[in-house]
Protein backbone atom coordinates (compact mmCIF):
# COMPACT_ATOMS: atom_id res chain seq x y z
CA UNK A 1 0.00 0.00 0.00
CA UNK A 2 2.82 2.40 0.89
CA UNK A 3 4.59 1.46 -2.29
CA UNK A 4 1.42 2.17 -4.24
CA UNK A 5 1.05 5.55 -2.61
CA UNK A 6 4.65 6.46 -3.36
CA UNK A 7 4.27 5.50 -7.00
CA UNK A 8 1.03 7.45 -7.17
CA UNK A 9 2.89 10.57 -6.03
CA UNK A 10 5.73 9.93 -8.47
CA UNK A 11 3.31 9.22 -11.29
CA UNK A 12 1.34 12.39 -10.67
CA UNK A 13 4.52 14.45 -10.72
CA UNK A 14 5.64 12.91 -13.96
CA UNK A 15 2.15 13.26 -15.36
CA UNK A 16 2.07 16.95 -14.54
CA UNK A 17 5.21 17.43 -16.61
CA UNK A 18 3.79 15.44 -19.53
CA UNK A 19 0.59 17.42 -19.27
CA UNK A 20 2.38 20.76 -19.52
CA UNK A 21 4.14 19.63 -22.67
CA UNK A 22 1.05 17.96 -24.10
CA UNK A 23 -0.80 21.28 -24.02
CA UNK A 24 1.67 22.60 -26.58
CA UNK A 25 0.88 19.72 -28.93
CA UNK A 26 -2.81 19.97 -28.50
CA UNK A 27 -3.05 23.75 -28.91
CA UNK A 28 -0.97 23.77 -32.05
CA UNK A 29 -2.96 20.89 -33.48
CA UNK A 30 -6.16 22.71 -32.62
CA UNK A 31 -5.24 25.89 -34.38
CA UNK A 32 -3.34 24.77 -37.48
CA UNK A 33 -4.08 21.06 -37.60
CA UNK A 34 -0.49 19.87 -37.55
CA UNK A 35 1.56 17.88 -35.06
CA UNK A 36 4.53 19.98 -34.06
CA UNK A 37 7.11 17.21 -33.75
CA UNK A 38 9.76 19.75 -32.78
CA UNK A 39 7.86 20.47 -29.56
CA UNK A 40 9.84 17.86 -27.59
CA UNK A 41 13.00 19.64 -28.65
CA UNK A 42 11.56 22.92 -27.42
CA UNK A 43 11.19 21.26 -24.03
CA UNK A 44 14.79 20.02 -24.26
CA UNK A 45 16.00 23.50 -25.09
CA UNK A 46 14.04 24.77 -22.10
CA UNK A 47 15.92 22.29 -19.89
CA UNK A 48 19.25 23.46 -21.23
CA UNK A 49 18.45 27.13 -20.83
CA UNK A 50 17.36 26.36 -17.28
CA UNK A 51 20.60 24.53 -16.57
CA UNK A 52 22.67 27.36 -18.01
CA UNK A 53 20.73 29.92 -15.98
CA UNK A 54 21.16 27.93 -12.78
CA UNK A 55 24.90 27.68 -13.45
CA UNK A 56 25.20 31.40 -14.08
CA UNK A 57 23.22 32.21 -10.96
CA UNK A 58 25.29 29.73 -8.98
CA UNK A 59 28.52 31.32 -10.17
CA UNK A 60 27.30 34.80 -9.43
CA UNK A 61 26.51 33.69 -5.92
CA UNK A 62 22.75 33.98 -5.68
CA UNK A 63 22.06 32.16 -2.44
CA UNK A 64 18.28 32.36 -2.23
CA UNK A 65 16.79 29.23 -3.78
CA UNK A 66 13.24 30.59 -4.34
CA UNK A 67 14.68 33.71 -5.96
CA UNK A 68 16.93 31.62 -8.19
CA UNK A 69 14.04 29.41 -9.29
CA UNK A 70 11.84 32.38 -10.01
CA UNK A 71 14.49 34.13 -12.06
CA UNK A 72 15.34 30.96 -13.96
CA UNK A 73 11.68 30.30 -14.67
CA UNK A 74 11.19 33.76 -16.10
CA UNK A 75 14.34 33.75 -18.19
CA UNK A 76 13.79 30.22 -19.46
CA UNK A 77 10.18 30.83 -20.40
CA UNK A 78 11.20 33.98 -22.24
CA UNK A 79 13.99 32.42 -24.26
CA UNK A 80 12.24 29.13 -24.94
CA UNK A 81 9.13 30.96 -26.08
CA UNK A 82 11.35 32.85 -28.50
CA UNK A 83 12.57 29.51 -29.85
CA UNK A 84 9.02 28.27 -30.22
CA UNK A 85 8.07 31.45 -32.06
CA UNK A 86 11.08 31.22 -34.35
CA UNK A 87 10.36 27.59 -35.22
CA UNK A 88 6.86 28.49 -36.33
CA UNK A 89 8.01 31.54 -38.23
CA UNK A 90 10.83 29.78 -40.07
CA UNK A 91 9.68 26.23 -40.53
CA UNK A 92 5.87 26.25 -40.58
CA UNK A 93 4.47 29.58 -41.65
CA UNK A 94 6.10 29.60 -45.09
CA UNK A 95 4.49 26.21 -45.67
CA UNK A 96 0.98 27.17 -44.66
CA UNK A 97 -1.27 26.60 -47.62
CA UNK A 98 1.10 23.98 -48.94
CA UNK A 99 0.14 20.30 -48.98
CA UNK A 100 -0.82 18.82 -45.65
CA UNK A 101 2.30 16.79 -45.04
CA UNK A 102 4.71 19.65 -45.74
CA UNK A 103 4.70 21.24 -42.28
CA UNK A 104 4.86 17.78 -40.70
CA UNK A 105 8.01 16.89 -42.60
CA UNK A 106 9.38 20.32 -41.81
CA UNK A 107 8.67 19.66 -38.13
CA UNK A 108 10.62 16.42 -38.16
CA UNK A 109 13.48 18.25 -39.86
CA UNK A 110 13.31 21.00 -37.27
CA UNK A 111 13.40 18.41 -34.51
CA UNK A 112 16.57 16.82 -35.89
CA UNK A 113 18.10 20.22 -36.46
CA UNK A 114 17.46 21.36 -32.91
CA UNK A 115 18.89 18.15 -31.44
CA UNK A 116 22.09 18.54 -33.43
CA UNK A 117 22.26 22.23 -32.73
CA UNK A 118 22.21 21.62 -28.99
CA UNK A 119 24.58 18.67 -29.33
CA UNK A 120 27.08 20.86 -31.18
CA UNK A 121 26.81 23.74 -28.77
CA UNK A 122 26.55 21.82 -25.52
CA UNK A 123 28.23 18.52 -26.28
CA UNK A 124 26.72 15.08 -26.33
CA UNK A 125 27.48 14.17 -22.76
CA UNK A 126 24.86 14.01 -20.08
CA UNK A 127 24.75 17.13 -17.96
CA UNK A 128 23.95 16.86 -14.31
CA UNK A 129 22.91 19.34 -11.71
CA UNK A 130 23.01 19.00 -7.97
CA UNK A 131 19.49 19.14 -6.54
CA UNK A 132 18.60 22.58 -5.27
CA UNK A 133 15.37 21.80 -3.53
CA UNK A 134 15.78 18.93 -1.12
CA UNK A 135 13.67 17.45 1.61
CA UNK A 136 9.99 16.85 1.85
CA UNK A 137 7.21 15.45 3.95
CA UNK A 138 6.96 11.89 5.10
CA UNK A 139 3.36 11.03 4.36
CA UNK A 140 3.26 7.66 6.10
CA UNK A 141 5.78 5.15 7.25
CA UNK A 142 5.42 1.48 7.82
CA UNK A 143 7.91 -1.32 8.26
CA UNK A 144 10.77 0.92 7.34
CA UNK A 145 9.21 2.11 4.07
CA UNK A 146 8.70 5.83 3.94
CA UNK A 147 6.24 7.44 1.60
CA UNK A 148 7.67 10.86 0.88
CA UNK A 149 6.26 13.83 -0.88
CA UNK A 150 9.24 16.02 -1.70
CA UNK A 151 9.06 19.80 -1.79
CA UNK A 152 10.08 19.62 -5.41
CA UNK A 153 7.11 17.41 -6.21
CA UNK A 154 4.83 19.83 -4.44
CA UNK A 155 6.28 22.71 -6.42
CA UNK A 156 5.78 20.85 -9.69
CA UNK A 157 2.19 19.92 -8.99
CA UNK A 158 1.27 23.31 -7.57
CA UNK A 159 2.82 25.18 -10.47
CA UNK A 160 1.11 22.89 -12.95
CA UNK A 161 -2.23 23.45 -11.27
CA UNK A 162 -1.80 27.21 -11.30
CA UNK A 163 -0.74 27.24 -14.94
CA UNK A 164 -3.63 24.99 -15.93
CA UNK A 165 -6.12 27.19 -14.13
CA UNK A 166 -4.64 30.27 -15.76
CA UNK A 167 -4.74 28.62 -19.11
CA UNK A 168 -8.33 27.50 -18.98
CA UNK A 169 -9.15 31.04 -17.98
CA UNK A 170 -7.16 32.41 -20.89
CA UNK A 171 -8.86 30.19 -23.42
CA UNK A 172 -12.40 30.53 -22.17
CA UNK A 173 -12.52 34.12 -20.97
CA UNK A 174 -10.11 36.40 -22.77
CA UNK A 175 -10.17 37.96 -26.20
CA UNK A 176 -7.06 36.01 -27.16
CA UNK A 177 -8.63 32.71 -26.16
CA UNK A 178 -11.72 33.51 -28.19
CA UNK A 179 -9.54 34.44 -31.13
CA UNK A 180 -7.75 31.12 -30.83
CA UNK A 181 -10.98 29.17 -30.79
CA UNK A 182 -12.28 31.21 -33.68
CA UNK A 183 -9.14 30.41 -35.70
CA UNK A 184 -9.57 26.75 -34.79
CA UNK A 185 -13.06 26.67 -36.22
CA UNK A 186 -12.74 28.85 -39.30
CA UNK A 187 -9.56 30.76 -40.06
CA UNK A 188 -10.93 32.74 -42.97
CA UNK A 189 -13.97 33.84 -41.05
CA UNK A 190 -11.73 34.74 -38.10
CA UNK A 191 -9.69 36.97 -40.40
CA UNK A 192 -12.91 38.57 -41.62
CA UNK A 193 -13.73 39.40 -38.02
CA UNK A 194 -10.49 41.37 -37.87
CA UNK A 195 -8.45 38.68 -36.15
CA UNK A 196 -4.81 38.57 -37.20
CA UNK A 197 -4.60 34.82 -37.75
CA UNK A 198 -0.83 34.75 -38.20
CA UNK A 199 -0.31 36.56 -34.96
CA UNK A 200 -2.75 34.32 -33.12
CA UNK A 201 -0.88 31.26 -34.38
CA UNK A 202 2.41 32.83 -33.29
CA UNK A 203 1.02 33.49 -29.83
CA UNK A 204 -0.14 29.90 -29.63
CA UNK A 205 3.39 28.71 -30.31
CA UNK A 206 4.76 31.18 -27.78
CA UNK A 207 2.39 29.94 -25.12
CA UNK A 208 2.99 26.26 -25.87
CA UNK A 209 6.74 26.77 -25.78
CA UNK A 210 6.42 28.72 -22.54
CA UNK A 211 4.66 25.79 -20.87
CA UNK A 212 7.24 23.36 -22.23
CA UNK A 213 9.90 25.65 -20.75
CA UNK A 214 8.28 25.42 -17.33
CA UNK A 215 8.31 21.64 -17.71
CA UNK A 216 11.98 21.85 -18.66
CA UNK A 217 12.87 23.89 -15.59
CA UNK A 218 10.94 21.53 -13.36
CA UNK A 219 12.48 18.33 -14.69
CA UNK A 220 15.96 19.82 -14.59
CA UNK A 221 15.39 20.65 -10.95
CA UNK A 222 13.70 17.38 -10.10
CA UNK A 223 15.66 14.78 -11.99
CA UNK A 224 18.88 16.74 -12.42
CA UNK A 225 20.14 15.04 -15.59
CA UNK A 226 19.66 16.25 -19.12
CA UNK A 227 21.16 15.69 -22.53
CA UNK A 228 20.40 16.78 -26.06
CA UNK A 229 18.20 13.76 -26.72
CA UNK A 230 15.70 13.96 -23.84
CA UNK A 231 13.21 15.87 -25.94
CA UNK A 232 12.58 12.92 -28.21
CA UNK A 233 11.17 10.47 -25.69
CA UNK A 234 9.47 13.00 -23.46
CA UNK A 235 8.04 14.71 -26.52
CA UNK A 236 6.61 11.46 -27.85
CA UNK A 237 5.09 10.64 -24.49
CA UNK A 238 3.54 14.06 -24.20
CA UNK A 239 2.20 13.58 -27.71
CA UNK A 240 0.75 10.25 -26.60
CA UNK A 241 -0.82 12.06 -23.67
CA UNK A 242 -2.37 14.62 -26.02
CA UNK A 243 -3.78 11.85 -28.23
CA UNK A 244 -5.05 9.89 -25.24
CA UNK A 245 -6.84 12.94 -23.87
CA UNK A 246 -8.21 13.82 -27.29
CA UNK A 247 -5.98 15.95 -29.47
CA UNK A 248 -7.24 19.51 -29.62
CA UNK A 249 -8.73 19.33 -26.14
CA UNK A 250 -6.99 21.28 -23.40
CA UNK A 251 -8.34 19.44 -20.36
CA UNK A 252 -7.76 16.27 -22.37
CA UNK A 253 -4.06 17.04 -22.65
CA UNK A 254 -3.77 17.44 -18.91
CA UNK A 255 -5.77 14.31 -18.17
CA UNK A 256 -3.81 12.35 -20.74
CA UNK A 257 -0.53 13.57 -19.25
CA UNK A 258 -1.50 12.44 -15.78
CA UNK A 259 -2.70 9.06 -17.02
CA UNK A 260 0.50 8.45 -18.98
CA UNK A 261 2.56 9.48 -15.94
CA UNK A 262 0.62 7.09 -13.73
CA UNK A 263 0.80 4.21 -16.20
CA UNK A 264 4.52 4.66 -16.44
CA UNK A 265 5.07 4.88 -12.70
CA UNK A 266 2.90 1.86 -11.89
CA UNK A 267 4.22 -0.22 -14.73
CA UNK A 268 7.76 0.43 -13.56
CA UNK A 269 6.71 -0.44 -10.03
CA UNK A 270 4.79 -3.65 -10.55
CA UNK A 271 6.03 -4.97 -13.87
CA UNK A 272 9.31 -4.55 -15.66
CA UNK A 273 10.75 -1.07 -15.41
CA UNK A 274 12.57 -1.55 -18.72
CA UNK A 275 9.23 -1.90 -20.44
CA UNK A 276 7.63 1.27 -19.13
CA UNK A 277 8.05 3.02 -22.47
CA UNK A 278 6.45 0.09 -24.23
CA UNK A 279 3.50 0.43 -21.89
CA UNK A 280 3.17 4.14 -22.60
CA UNK A 281 3.36 3.74 -26.34
CA UNK A 282 1.02 0.75 -26.38
CA UNK A 283 -1.54 3.20 -25.12
CA UNK A 284 -0.88 5.36 -28.17
CA UNK A 285 -1.56 2.42 -30.46
CA UNK A 286 -4.64 1.29 -28.55
CA UNK A 287 -6.13 4.76 -28.49
CA UNK A 288 -5.49 5.32 -32.16
CA UNK A 289 -7.13 2.00 -33.01
CA UNK A 290 -10.09 1.99 -30.67
CA UNK A 291 -10.81 5.61 -29.80
CA UNK A 292 -9.05 7.97 -32.17
CA UNK A 293 -10.88 10.95 -30.74
CA UNK A 294 -9.34 10.30 -27.33
CA UNK A 295 -11.04 10.52 -23.97
CA UNK A 296 -12.29 14.11 -24.15
CA UNK A 297 -11.89 14.89 -27.83
CA UNK A 298 -14.75 15.71 -30.13
CA UNK A 299 -15.17 13.83 -33.34
CA UNK A 300 -13.79 15.87 -36.19
CA UNK A 301 -16.51 18.03 -37.61
CA UNK A 302 -16.19 18.73 -41.29
CA UNK A 303 -13.59 21.42 -41.76
CA UNK A 304 -14.20 24.01 -44.42
Amino acid sequence: MEYFLQQLINGLTLGAVYGLIAIGYTMVYGIIGMINFAHGEIYMIGSFIALICFSILGLSGVASVPLAILVVLLVTVLFTAAYGWAVERLAYRPLRGSFRLAPLISAIGMSIFLQNYVQLLQGARVKAMAPMVTGGFVVTERAGFQVTLSYMQIIIMALTLILMAGFSQLISRTALGRAQRACEQDQKMAALSGIDVDRTVSLTFLLGAGLAAVAGVMTTLHYGVIDFFIGFLVGLKAFTAAVLGGIGSLPGAMLGGILIGLVEAFWAAYFAAEYKDVAAFSILVLVLVFRPTGLLGQPEVEKV
Binding site: R178, A182, L192, S193, G194, D196
Partner: protein, 290 residues
Protein backbone atom coordinates in the same frame (compact mmCIF):
# COMPACT_ATOMS: atom_id res chain seq x y z
CA UNK B 1 -36.81 55.83 -50.98
CA UNK B 2 -35.45 58.92 -49.32
CA UNK B 3 -33.74 61.72 -51.16
CA UNK B 4 -30.51 60.30 -49.87
CA UNK B 5 -31.10 57.30 -52.00
CA UNK B 6 -31.05 59.18 -55.26
CA UNK B 7 -28.01 58.35 -57.30
CA UNK B 8 -27.68 61.99 -58.21
CA UNK B 9 -27.28 63.11 -54.61
CA UNK B 10 -24.02 64.88 -54.01
CA UNK B 11 -22.83 62.20 -51.63
CA UNK B 12 -19.44 60.97 -52.75
CA UNK B 13 -19.05 57.26 -53.26
CA UNK B 14 -17.59 55.31 -50.37
CA UNK B 15 -16.66 52.22 -52.32
CA UNK B 16 -15.17 52.65 -55.75
CA UNK B 17 -14.59 49.51 -57.77
CA UNK B 18 -12.70 50.28 -60.97
CA UNK B 19 -11.87 47.97 -63.87
CA UNK B 20 -11.97 44.91 -61.68
CA UNK B 21 -11.03 41.66 -63.42
CA UNK B 22 -10.42 38.24 -62.00
CA UNK B 23 -9.00 35.37 -63.97
CA UNK B 24 -8.66 31.81 -62.76
CA UNK B 25 -6.23 29.91 -64.93
CA UNK B 26 -7.65 31.13 -68.19
CA UNK B 27 -11.23 31.45 -67.04
CA UNK B 28 -12.41 35.00 -66.68
CA UNK B 29 -14.77 35.21 -63.71
CA UNK B 30 -15.07 38.99 -63.73
CA UNK B 31 -14.22 41.16 -66.67
CA UNK B 32 -13.58 44.87 -66.26
CA UNK B 33 -16.35 45.62 -63.78
CA UNK B 34 -16.66 49.13 -62.38
CA UNK B 35 -19.28 50.40 -59.99
CA UNK B 36 -19.55 52.43 -56.83
CA UNK B 37 -21.52 52.33 -53.61
CA UNK B 38 -22.42 55.09 -51.20
CA UNK B 39 -22.70 55.04 -47.47
CA UNK B 40 -26.21 54.95 -46.16
CA UNK B 41 -27.37 53.21 -49.30
CA UNK B 42 -28.15 49.66 -50.20
CA UNK B 43 -26.50 48.65 -53.45
CA UNK B 44 -27.90 45.45 -54.88
CA UNK B 45 -25.79 43.21 -57.08
CA UNK B 46 -27.83 40.86 -59.20
CA UNK B 47 -27.21 38.58 -62.10
CA UNK B 48 -27.84 35.04 -63.24
CA UNK B 49 -25.94 32.17 -61.63
CA UNK B 50 -22.26 32.28 -62.42
CA UNK B 51 -22.34 35.98 -63.26
CA UNK B 52 -19.46 36.65 -60.88
CA UNK B 53 -21.32 38.27 -57.99
CA UNK B 54 -19.67 36.30 -55.21
CA UNK B 55 -16.30 36.68 -56.91
CA UNK B 56 -16.73 40.45 -56.64
CA UNK B 57 -17.36 40.00 -52.92
CA UNK B 58 -14.36 37.76 -52.56
CA UNK B 59 -12.19 40.42 -54.16
CA UNK B 60 -13.57 43.16 -51.93
CA UNK B 61 -13.09 41.17 -48.74
CA UNK B 62 -9.63 39.90 -49.54
CA UNK B 63 -10.42 36.25 -50.24
CA UNK B 64 -9.10 36.72 -53.75
CA UNK B 65 -6.50 39.09 -55.01
CA UNK B 66 -7.95 40.59 -58.20
CA UNK B 67 -5.96 40.11 -61.38
CA UNK B 68 -6.57 43.69 -62.48
CA UNK B 69 -8.36 46.66 -61.01
CA UNK B 70 -8.73 48.88 -58.04
CA UNK B 71 -11.07 48.69 -55.07
CA UNK B 72 -10.94 51.86 -53.03
CA UNK B 73 -12.84 52.50 -49.82
CA UNK B 74 -13.08 56.04 -48.48
CA UNK B 75 -14.41 57.05 -45.12
CA UNK B 76 -13.40 59.14 -42.13
CA UNK B 77 -10.93 56.40 -41.15
CA UNK B 78 -8.96 57.10 -44.30
CA UNK B 79 -8.62 55.80 -47.81
CA UNK B 80 -7.99 52.10 -48.26
CA UNK B 81 -6.99 50.23 -51.37
CA UNK B 82 -8.57 46.91 -50.58
CA UNK B 83 -7.01 44.99 -53.46
CA UNK B 84 -3.65 45.34 -51.75
CA UNK B 85 -4.63 44.59 -48.18
CA UNK B 86 -4.54 41.37 -46.20
CA UNK B 87 -7.92 39.93 -45.28
CA UNK B 88 -7.86 40.70 -41.60
CA UNK B 89 -6.74 44.28 -42.24
CA UNK B 90 -9.64 44.79 -44.61
CA UNK B 91 -11.89 43.81 -41.74
CA UNK B 92 -9.97 45.49 -38.96
CA UNK B 93 -8.68 48.70 -40.49
CA UNK B 94 -10.88 49.38 -43.50
CA UNK B 95 -14.07 48.30 -41.76
CA UNK B 96 -15.53 45.80 -44.19
CA UNK B 97 -17.71 42.99 -42.87
CA UNK B 98 -19.45 40.26 -44.79
CA UNK B 99 -21.81 37.34 -44.51
CA UNK B 100 -21.87 34.18 -46.59
CA UNK B 101 -24.24 32.39 -48.85
CA UNK B 102 -23.66 29.27 -46.77
CA UNK B 103 -23.61 30.61 -43.25
CA UNK B 104 -20.22 30.73 -41.57
CA UNK B 105 -20.78 31.26 -37.90
CA UNK B 106 -18.34 29.66 -35.49
CA UNK B 107 -20.59 26.66 -34.91
CA UNK B 108 -19.04 25.46 -31.67
CA UNK B 109 -18.99 28.82 -29.97
CA UNK B 110 -22.02 30.27 -28.28
CA UNK B 111 -24.05 32.95 -30.01
CA UNK B 112 -22.71 35.51 -27.56
CA UNK B 113 -19.13 34.47 -28.19
CA UNK B 114 -19.70 34.77 -31.92
CA UNK B 115 -20.76 38.36 -31.39
CA UNK B 116 -17.79 38.98 -29.09
CA UNK B 117 -15.29 37.59 -31.58
CA UNK B 118 -16.47 40.28 -33.97
CA UNK B 119 -15.49 42.86 -31.36
CA UNK B 120 -12.12 41.22 -30.98
CA UNK B 121 -10.13 44.23 -32.10
CA UNK B 122 -11.19 46.60 -29.36
CA UNK B 123 -11.19 43.86 -26.73
CA UNK B 124 -7.68 42.82 -27.66
CA UNK B 125 -6.54 46.40 -27.33
CA UNK B 126 -8.18 46.73 -23.95
CA UNK B 127 -6.71 43.49 -22.72
CA UNK B 128 -3.09 44.27 -23.68
CA UNK B 129 -2.51 40.86 -25.23
CA UNK B 130 -4.77 39.20 -22.71
CA UNK B 131 -2.57 40.05 -19.76
CA UNK B 132 -5.15 42.42 -18.35
CA UNK B 133 -7.84 39.94 -19.29
CA UNK B 134 -6.15 37.12 -17.43
CA UNK B 135 -5.67 39.20 -14.34
CA UNK B 136 -9.23 40.42 -14.56
CA UNK B 137 -8.13 44.06 -14.48
CA UNK B 138 -11.00 46.58 -14.48
CA UNK B 139 -9.87 47.99 -17.81
CA UNK B 140 -10.56 44.70 -19.55
CA UNK B 141 -13.66 43.94 -17.54
CA UNK B 142 -15.21 47.23 -18.55
CA UNK B 143 -14.37 46.68 -22.21
CA UNK B 144 -15.76 43.15 -21.99
CA UNK B 145 -18.93 44.39 -20.32
CA UNK B 146 -19.36 47.04 -23.00
CA UNK B 147 -18.87 44.42 -25.71
CA UNK B 148 -21.44 42.15 -24.11
CA UNK B 149 -23.81 45.10 -23.96
CA UNK B 150 -23.40 45.69 -27.71
CA UNK B 151 -24.01 41.99 -28.38
CA UNK B 152 -27.03 42.04 -26.14
CA UNK B 153 -28.41 45.04 -27.97
CA UNK B 154 -28.27 43.09 -31.21
CA UNK B 155 -29.78 39.96 -29.74
CA UNK B 156 -32.55 42.08 -28.30
CA UNK B 157 -33.21 43.62 -31.68
CA UNK B 158 -33.37 40.18 -33.29
CA UNK B 159 -35.42 38.71 -30.46
CA UNK B 160 -32.74 36.12 -29.78
CA UNK B 161 -31.62 37.04 -26.27
CA UNK B 162 -32.65 33.61 -25.04
CA UNK B 163 -30.32 31.95 -27.50
CA UNK B 164 -27.26 33.86 -26.26
CA UNK B 165 -25.62 30.89 -24.57
CA UNK B 166 -26.51 28.24 -27.11
CA UNK B 167 -23.94 26.94 -29.52
CA UNK B 168 -24.44 28.83 -32.75
CA UNK B 169 -24.42 25.65 -34.83
CA UNK B 170 -27.53 24.35 -33.09
CA UNK B 171 -29.81 27.24 -34.06
CA UNK B 172 -32.34 27.22 -36.87
CA UNK B 173 -31.22 28.38 -40.28
CA UNK B 174 -33.12 31.67 -40.21
CA UNK B 175 -31.78 32.51 -36.77
CA UNK B 176 -28.23 31.76 -37.84
CA UNK B 177 -28.63 34.16 -40.74
CA UNK B 178 -29.74 36.95 -38.48
CA UNK B 179 -26.89 36.26 -36.09
CA UNK B 180 -24.42 36.31 -38.91
CA UNK B 181 -25.64 39.77 -39.87
CA UNK B 182 -25.51 40.86 -36.22
CA UNK B 183 -21.98 39.52 -35.96
CA UNK B 184 -20.94 41.48 -39.01
CA UNK B 185 -22.49 44.62 -37.50
CA UNK B 186 -20.76 44.04 -34.16
CA UNK B 187 -17.43 44.72 -35.82
CA UNK B 188 -18.75 48.25 -36.50
CA UNK B 189 -18.21 48.10 -40.25
CA UNK B 190 -18.41 50.97 -42.69
CA UNK B 191 -19.32 48.62 -45.49
CA UNK B 192 -21.49 45.56 -44.98
CA UNK B 193 -21.42 42.91 -47.72
CA UNK B 194 -24.31 40.45 -47.62
CA UNK B 195 -24.18 37.41 -49.86
CA UNK B 196 -27.72 36.18 -50.45
CA UNK B 197 -29.05 36.89 -46.97
CA UNK B 198 -32.55 35.80 -47.95
CA UNK B 199 -31.54 32.37 -49.26
CA UNK B 200 -33.47 29.67 -47.47
CA UNK B 201 -35.71 32.06 -45.58
CA UNK B 202 -39.48 31.77 -45.60
CA UNK B 203 -41.57 34.81 -46.65
CA UNK B 204 -42.08 35.99 -43.10
CA UNK B 205 -38.38 35.78 -42.35
CA UNK B 206 -37.63 37.53 -45.63
CA UNK B 207 -39.89 40.40 -44.65
CA UNK B 208 -38.14 40.62 -41.29
CA UNK B 209 -34.81 40.65 -43.06
CA UNK B 210 -35.88 43.52 -45.29
CA UNK B 211 -36.90 45.53 -42.29
CA UNK B 212 -33.65 44.70 -40.52
CA UNK B 213 -31.54 45.83 -43.46
CA UNK B 214 -33.48 49.08 -43.86
CA UNK B 215 -33.08 49.68 -40.12
CA UNK B 216 -29.37 49.06 -40.27
CA UNK B 217 -29.05 51.49 -43.14
CA UNK B 218 -31.07 54.08 -41.26
CA UNK B 219 -29.50 53.68 -37.82
CA UNK B 220 -25.87 53.07 -38.63
CA UNK B 221 -25.44 54.81 -41.96
CA UNK B 222 -23.33 51.97 -43.26
CA UNK B 223 -23.09 51.20 -46.93
CA UNK B 224 -24.63 47.85 -47.76
CA UNK B 225 -23.69 45.68 -50.72
CA UNK B 226 -26.32 43.07 -51.29
CA UNK B 227 -26.12 40.02 -53.52
CA UNK B 228 -29.57 38.55 -53.79
CA UNK B 229 -31.54 36.26 -56.02
CA UNK B 230 -34.87 37.15 -54.51
CA UNK B 231 -36.05 40.04 -56.68
CA UNK B 232 -38.61 41.09 -54.09
CA UNK B 233 -35.76 41.80 -51.74
CA UNK B 234 -33.38 43.45 -54.18
CA UNK B 235 -35.89 45.62 -55.97
CA UNK B 236 -37.77 46.36 -52.77
CA UNK B 237 -34.96 47.73 -50.66
CA UNK B 238 -32.02 48.59 -52.91
CA UNK B 239 -31.27 52.20 -53.64
CA UNK B 240 -29.21 51.21 -56.61
CA UNK B 241 -28.74 47.97 -58.49
CA UNK B 242 -25.75 46.69 -60.41
CA UNK B 243 -26.42 43.87 -62.87
CA UNK B 244 -23.72 41.41 -63.84
CA UNK B 245 -23.83 38.81 -66.57
CA UNK B 246 -21.01 36.50 -67.60
CA UNK B 247 -18.62 38.46 -65.42
CA UNK B 248 -19.37 41.81 -67.03
CA UNK B 249 -21.54 44.67 -65.86
CA UNK B 250 -24.52 45.09 -68.12
CA UNK B 251 -26.54 47.64 -66.21
CA UNK B 252 -26.34 49.98 -63.26
CA UNK B 253 -28.96 52.33 -61.85
CA UNK B 254 -32.05 52.66 -59.70
CA UNK B 255 -34.23 49.56 -59.44
CA UNK B 256 -36.67 51.21 -61.80
CA UNK B 257 -34.06 51.93 -64.44
CA UNK B 258 -32.57 48.49 -64.20
CA UNK B 259 -35.90 46.78 -64.44
CA UNK B 260 -36.60 48.49 -67.72
CA UNK B 261 -33.15 48.10 -69.19
CA UNK B 262 -33.37 45.96 -72.32
CA UNK B 263 -29.94 44.47 -71.66
CA UNK B 264 -31.13 43.19 -68.30
CA UNK B 265 -34.30 41.78 -69.77
CA UNK B 266 -32.30 39.97 -72.41
CA UNK B 267 -29.89 38.54 -69.88
CA UNK B 268 -32.65 37.23 -67.68
CA UNK B 269 -35.28 36.07 -70.09
CA UNK B 270 -33.69 35.75 -73.46
CA UNK B 271 -34.47 38.06 -76.35
CA UNK B 272 -38.14 38.46 -75.63
CA UNK B 273 -40.23 38.44 -72.54
CA UNK B 274 -41.14 40.44 -69.49
CA UNK B 275 -38.69 42.22 -67.28
CA UNK B 276 -38.04 40.75 -63.83
CA UNK B 277 -40.91 41.78 -61.63
CA UNK B 278 -40.64 43.50 -58.34
CA UNK B 279 -42.93 41.22 -56.45
CA UNK B 280 -42.55 37.97 -58.26
CA UNK B 281 -43.90 35.24 -56.05
CA UNK B 282 -43.10 32.37 -58.36
CA UNK B 283 -39.67 31.03 -59.07
CA UNK B 284 -37.35 33.98 -58.91
CA UNK B 285 -36.15 35.01 -62.34
CA UNK B 286 -32.66 35.28 -60.92
CA UNK B 287 -32.48 31.54 -60.62
CA UNK B 288 -32.93 31.06 -64.35
CA UNK B 289 -29.74 30.27 -66.18
CA UNK B 290 -28.75 32.58 -68.97
Amino acid sequence: MSALASPDAAVPAMLEVAHLSMHFEGITAIDDVSFSARRGEITGIIGPNGAGKTTVFNCITGFYRPSVGRIALDHEGGRFLLERMEGFRIARDAGVARTFQNIRLFPRMTVLENLLVAQHVKLMRASVFSIAGLLGLPRFREAEAAAIEVARGWLDRLGLVKAADREAGTLAHGQQRKIEIARAMCSEPKLLCLDEPAAGLNPRETAELNRLLLDIREDYGVGILLIEHDMAVVMGISDRVVVLNYGAKISDGTPEEVRNDPAVIRAYLGEEGDPPETNSRGPSPGRGRP
